[in-house]
């Protein structure tokens, strides 16, 4: 009897839960059921993490450097050094890396303050908690794990924790403490596990990695001295101890033997002009993701604005915007982008983003227009109009959220094709040669025929594009009511 009652209560609970489910919840639930798409979303998150934390993995400046004059911490000072990281994209990602953890903490504290009575708020808090614990997990696992690993590569590194405290650098301590605190609060055991694994891996690496100490010699401040010493045959000046990232190179640093294949020191080999390919690929993640997302951001914004105006107002406005769409659509976009970039002369990645953004908006505009035409005569719009809301509010708060689904799918595929476009531009030599773009490396592979320069960057592009396409496909399937499970 009681069992029946219980199950009835459970059923009632589940219906109530269903009643409070928003459309987003349903789609998300469907999306999660698609294992491939869900996994590729995680893959994308991993790519972003790699992009954000690239300097932790690869940088030619050591975290800690001790020589006769004392101890210094060059890694921290170079993070925002425009001489070292010339590119705005790198500076942005470095900022995200440093500020990410405190921002997450603030956000979570803010979410906690919201009143818990409303079911919506409770749900959001639960979701925030989930996102947060995972985010904290990523940040912590990466940062802590990598620093531990790196410390393991020092000359005579004592216990890491002591070293970290000895640093006196508040940032690291703060960072790790925040993350640990939050992870504990969240009860996210997986996070702690990740840290533990990172620590063990670091120590294992340490015991096997006496060869890493060699790299302390390439520390940028001493490079000239080393070169001079090598010429005269004298002993090269060396640090007493230094702690480097796993790959102690920068993507612009040259001077290794050109076109050398993969080896223990350089796991992906050396490029034509003698820089470490692994580092270039790692930093290339930043370029590709930035280009993809910002270019698509620009054209989604243009498309949404023009499409919603056309769809909402109809009539002559619609006709004019439709003509504009048709005109821009007819010009082959690759040719146009190529022309714009070539004529401006110096192709910076910001120019490439802008060119893609201002040429490719037509698809999104047509999608949004169609959705607006469908939605604008529905009852909720009529009632909003009857309530006397301003037009902008009706467009952006009432109709647009309902029209965003297809745009999201188009955007996911769009990011993939923008990344492809940028790499083909770089491949043709029309890209930003000062960046570590994957297309630039692939071009070197094309012109030299070195297989590691062909396979590795191409695979990186392929993987990113594939993950984006799979995720986009997943969102599309999740929104299709016919495929609902």
């Amino acid at each position: 009897m009681s069992e029946i009652q219980e199950s009835a209560a459970a059923a009632a609970e589940s219906t109530r839960e269903k009643a409070t489910q928003t459309y987003g919840d349903i789609v998300w639930g469907q999306f999660k059921k698609n294992r491939v798409a869900y996994a590729s979303l995680w893959g994308l998150a991993a790519l972003f993490t790699l992009a954000i934390f690239a300097p932790l993995l690869a940088s030619s400046t050591p975290f800690i450097w001790t020589d006769e004059t004392g101890t210094s911490y060059p890694w921290f000072t170079t993070l925002f050094d425009t001489q070292y990281f010339e590119n705005g994209v790198d500076l942005f990602f470095n900022l995200v890396m440093v500020m990410g953890m405190p921002m997450l903490l603030l956000w979570w504290l803010w979410m906690r303050k919201l009143p818990a009575k409303m079911p919506r708020v409770r749900q959001r808090r639960a979701r925030a908690k989930a996102i947060f614990s995972r985010g904290a997990g990523f940040f912590l696992a990466f940062f802590a794990g990598m620093v531990f690993t790196a410390v393991g590569t020092g000359d005579d590194s004592p216990n890491l924790l002591l070293r970290a405290l000895d640093l006196g650098k508040l940032s690291i301590v703060l960072y790790v403490t925040c993350a640990t605190m939050l992870a504990l609060k969240m009860g996210s055991r997986s996070v702690l596990l990740a840290v533990l694994i990172g620590y063990i891996a670091g120590n294992v690496l340490h015991t096997t990695s006496s060869k890493y100490t060699v790299y302390s010699k390439v520390y940028w401040q001493n490079q000239e001295a080393i070169a001079a010493a090598e010429e005269t045959g004298a002993e090269a000046p060396d640090a007493i101890s230094a702690v480097f990232p796993i790959a102690p190179y920068s993507y612009r640093q040259q001077g290794f033997k050109p076109l050398e294949g993969p080896s223990g020191k350089h796991i992906m080999g050396i490029s034509t002009n003698g820089s470490d390919v692994a580092t270039r690929i790692l930093y290339g993640t930043r370029i590709s993701l930035t280009i993809g997302f910002i270019a698509v951001g620009i054209y989604v914004a243009i498309g949404i604005i023009l499409g919603s105006i056309a769809g909402y107002f109809g009539g002559k406005v619609d006709l004019a915007i439709q003509r504009l769409i048709e005109i821009v659509m007819c010009i082959p976009s690759f040719f146009l982008i190529l022309t714009v970039i070539a004529l401006v002369g110096s192709a910076s990645i910001f120019l490439i983003m802008a060119a893609i953004g201002f040429v490719r908006w037509t698809g999104v505009a047509r999608l949004v227009r169609g959705e607006f035409l469908r939605l604008r005569n529905q009852d909720f719009v009529t009632s909003a109009q009857a309530l006397g809301y301003p037009t902008s509010r009706i467009i952006f708060k009432h109709i647009l959220p309902n029209a965003l689904g297809p745009v999201l799918v188009a955007a996911a595929f769009g990011v993939a094709s923008a990344i492809l476009l940028e790499s083909s531009l770089s491949f043709l030599g029309m890209g930003d040669a000062s960046t570590a773009s994957w297309g630039v490396t692939l071009r070197e592979g094309y012109s030299t025929g070195a297989w590691h320069l062909v396979l590795i960057p191409g695979f990186a592009i392929f993987l990113t594009v594939l993950l984006l396409n799979l995720a986009g496909e997943g969102v599309r399937d999740a929104m299709d009511p016919k495929l609902r499970k």
């Binding site: 003509r323 048709e326 005109i327 821009v328 659509m329 007819c330 010009i331 082959p332 690759f334 040719f335 146009l336 190529l338 022309t339 714009v340 070539a342 004529l343 401006v344 002369g345 993939a416 492809l420 790499s423 083909s424 491949f427 043709l428 692939l442 592979g445 094309y446 025929g449 297989w451 062909v454 396979l455 191409g458 592009i461 392929f462 594009v465 594939l466 396409n469 799979l470 496909e473």
Partner: protein
Amino acid sequence: MGKYIVKRILLMIPTFFAISLIVFLVMHAAPGQPGASVQGAGDASQDADQGAENEAYTLFKQQFNLDKPVLFNTRYGLSDEEVLSAIEDSMNFGGEVLPGRQIEAKEQLTDWAQYAVPGLLKVLTEHPDKSIRSRASKWLSSAAKLRLQYAYTKRPTKEQLSSDSDRMKHNLEIKTWTFEENATDTAEAEVVSKWTAYVEEDVERRWHFTMGSKLSTLLLDTQFAKYWSNILSLDFGVSHLYKEDVLSLVGKKLRYSICLSVATLLIIYLVSVPLGIWSAVYRNTPADRAVTVFLFMLYSLPSFWVATILLNFLTKGTPFEVLPTGGFSSIDAGNLTTLDYLKDVIWHITLPVACMTYGGLAALSRYARTGLLDVIQSDYVRTARAKGLSEAVVIIKHAGRNGMIPIITLMATLLPALIGGSVVIEFIFQIPGIGSFMFESIQARDYNVVMCILLITSLLTLIGMLLADLLYALVDPRITFD
């Protein structure tokens, strides 16, 4: 239907006009003068420093209409002050003019040409400084020149030649009407009186602007208007790189690209339609899923990567030296018989076509699959089965015909996309098609070619879109345009 087609074609004209406007503006918004990289012209633009005497550069600019404003010509309203300040700046009169402004002022005076004549005359007669008056007389003798109208006509008639030689005489005559800074007052007075009489004689005809002539100057005496009038006579100009007529060059290159695209399209349809039907019939079986995943991965493979890999591993190195590294045919293809030539071409375009095919194939077979899935559950298919028809007949004859409508109409939009999208493939395999031609011309800043290719590919897309709509109505009787 006929009415609809006519309407659409008429609508294409303003659309094409707007496209050409956008393309034109893009080309002219770019920093640097068009044609600046032409051999000799770069030096000429530096020589423009030397003043009004630089004829070669002026002629070059006139030939390509570069002396005209891009979109709107408002030079009929040129004020005397503007002319005066341009002269002063070009001579560095105040002594504080930046070098950049000096060159700019000279360019301005050259470009204004006859629109500056009234202003120049005013300077000549009224300015207190003699050096400026002398300079004004020199500018006048170049600005008041009459343009040779038929200098660039391929085969001018006798009347045209004689009219041009009259103009030449006139130009030579006024060329002498100048005086130096240290000339005597009488010499100056003589020149001034000549100029005053000259301008007064022609003022009604050449320098008095009515509303109508203002409007026509505003819109028609511009680079854009001249370019359009050339386009209408199918004259896209001359390629700086090849010194050949652009249109015939583009036509030549287009042949290769169309050949590649048609081969690609053929293979795409031959493979993707059966594949789509197959995977719709065996939907949700493990085999279908495997094919879907495989096609999806194909779709995500960057074609330039695949092309580079194929190039490195199938054409170089001893074990795999099977296929040629590039080009459309062998160098000695001229001596081959037709059949051998065909074989040679096929042998050459295997790799590029393969690289262009697989992406579209993956996308199209997905379309074919969903197209068939949409109809396979409809009532008439069930009826066909109930009649006892064999499964093959049901799928191919009944469902297939309707299910393939969307992908047939895709053909019209795919063709221009293939022509436009093959830049990288043509670059890698060194095929002399439109894509690599475009790339080469962009790098050489061969403006006429770039504009011509952009316009022609846009036109192809426009036609393709029209064909897509018509094809839609043709294969689907439910759609009418009336």
